[in-house]
Symmetry: C2
Subunit: 289 residues, 2 copies
């Protein structure tokens, strides 16, 4: 596996964020072209499998409190779903919990905006995936004025405090912004209209949202700038090329899991004694109930 370079490469730099300065079709850190991606993914699958099983083992045996939360954000068609399918799909489903956040329910609205997020956090040993997240409350929340300006303002710090507490408690937080250009989105929405098997993914409201592109980009820039912290930085993943996006998120995941440095839990029993006990049960099947 690669060193931690992609994590460093894609980590959002501090200071003012200008998304127009990012090229959505770049492939930083990837050694090769599209045709080399399947092999890279296969290698990553092995690395992820090993690291994830160590995490799972620590959780299952109670020898570690670690868990990981992957937050996926991005404009419509940026590929949050595709990333779950192709990158998260490399993980063992036993240790994965995917939560897709939709418009909040009445019950959720009756609570603080972080309430529903707290309830969806991964348990120890698990990898939690958020397809959209608490960031919607400062994205569409801001653009569509779904809350008072003071409340929106309050949320940035609330998010930072929440994520910091999460990290302190042993949860690695990996936040990926899947960056596409307006042209990428146009092309993908057209593709959905052109293919009857993709019509279900298309919603006329997507065009209404698209018309607010500059305001969404501004909301993203503010959120990325104010909520990229040492504890939980943002990663800007160029997502104009799907194959790169899938690899990049999988690679960032693998680097973060590797960084946990987990060993296999040691036996808390006497291995030789258990071998003897087990050998004594060789004929158990032939016993009569």
């Amino acid at each position: 596996m690669a060193t931690t370079s992609l994590t460093e490469t894609l980590r959002l730099a501090s200071g003012h964020v200008d998304l127009t300065a990012y090229d959505s079709r770049e492939t930083p850190g990837f050694d090769g072209t599209k045709k080399d991606q399947p092999r890279a993914m296969a290698a990553l699958a092995d690395a992820l499998s090993d690291h994830q099983e160590r995490l799972y083992a620590a959780g299952a045996t109670g020898t570690g409190d670690q868990r990981l939360l992957l937050v996926l954000q991005g404009m419509d068609t940026s590929g949050k779903g595709g990333t779950v399918r192709h990158a998260v799909g490399l993980l063992d489903p036993q240790g994965v919990r995917v939560t897709s956040f939709k418009a909040p329910t009445e019950e959720e609205l009756a609570h603080d905006f972080l309430w529903r997020v707290e309830r969806a956090l991964p348990e120890k040993g698990q990898v939690g995936i958020f397809d959209r997240s608490h960031y919607e409350d400062v994205l569409i929340g801001r653009v569509r004025a779904l809350a008072e300006p003071e409340e929106i303002e309050r949320r940035y710090e609330a998010i930072n405090a929440f994520e910091e507490k999460l990290v302190e408690s042993g949860c690695t937080v990996v936040k990926c912004f899947l960056h596409i250009s307006p042209d990428d989105q146009l092309e993908r929405l057209r593709a959905r209209l052109d293919d009857p098997t993709k019509h279900w993914k298309y919603n006329p409201a997507d065009v209404d949202e698209r018309l607010l592109w500059p305001r969404y980009q501004e909301a993203y820039e503010i959120a990325l700038e104010r909520c990229s912290t040492d504890a939980a930085p943002w990663f800007v993943v160029p997502s104009g090329r799907k194959w790169y996006r899938n690899w990049a998120v999988a690679q960032i995941l693998a680097e973060h899991l590797a960084a946990l440095g987990l060993e296999w839990p040691e036996a808390d029993f006497d291995v030789a004694a258990e071998r003897e006990r087990l050998d004594a049960t060789a004929d158990v099947g032939s016993a009569v109930a």
Copy 2:
């Protein structure tokens, strides 16, 4: 994809169940040997992907109430976890929810045994996976006398009524018993002791349970016999060969998803009109916020 033959082949016959009559190392319905399995799995992955996405699409667009519940039961080391990893791992994690049922919590014990199960059921469009299930309440529940005999007795009919209601409401229920022999288990427990990276999977209590092998088999035979219904039959999956077990469960899943006969949801909007609306947004990115 194959016809529905595996579903028919592995479906439990009605009448008295004698598990000693089943060979755990058979490979019924599989055309070839172990070396042919990876190609068969790759073909299944494509079929599953297509069928599952149709199910997901129906749920996402509200055009269908269908969902599927896969129940995995089997003795320790029968491979419930491995089946989740390798068979369920072929599905898109976005539409999958895995629940591993452990010893019930105090809160769960304060409710009827089906309470925690109801709460873990898949939503429409989703595939729910139960690693252990409500059947534990008539398996370890019976063997370890965790409830009064009358209560255990009551549960068989309660399970049948519960599953029938579930099926009537649009949930396909697929129950797979992963059948291994006592020798298979012995070999696998030994392998766990021999490999330090597998020690975490070993628990000395596994040997205590193994000593009750005949009583567990009897409890399984009763549960399979009494709870294999037309609405929700049991499948007995020979699981002495891991590669066959993984293929068989994936194949049964694929056959059940195919049997739903789902079409892609039709557009509920005017495609031509949307193309025009979309074209009019071509320059949206260059607009000033």
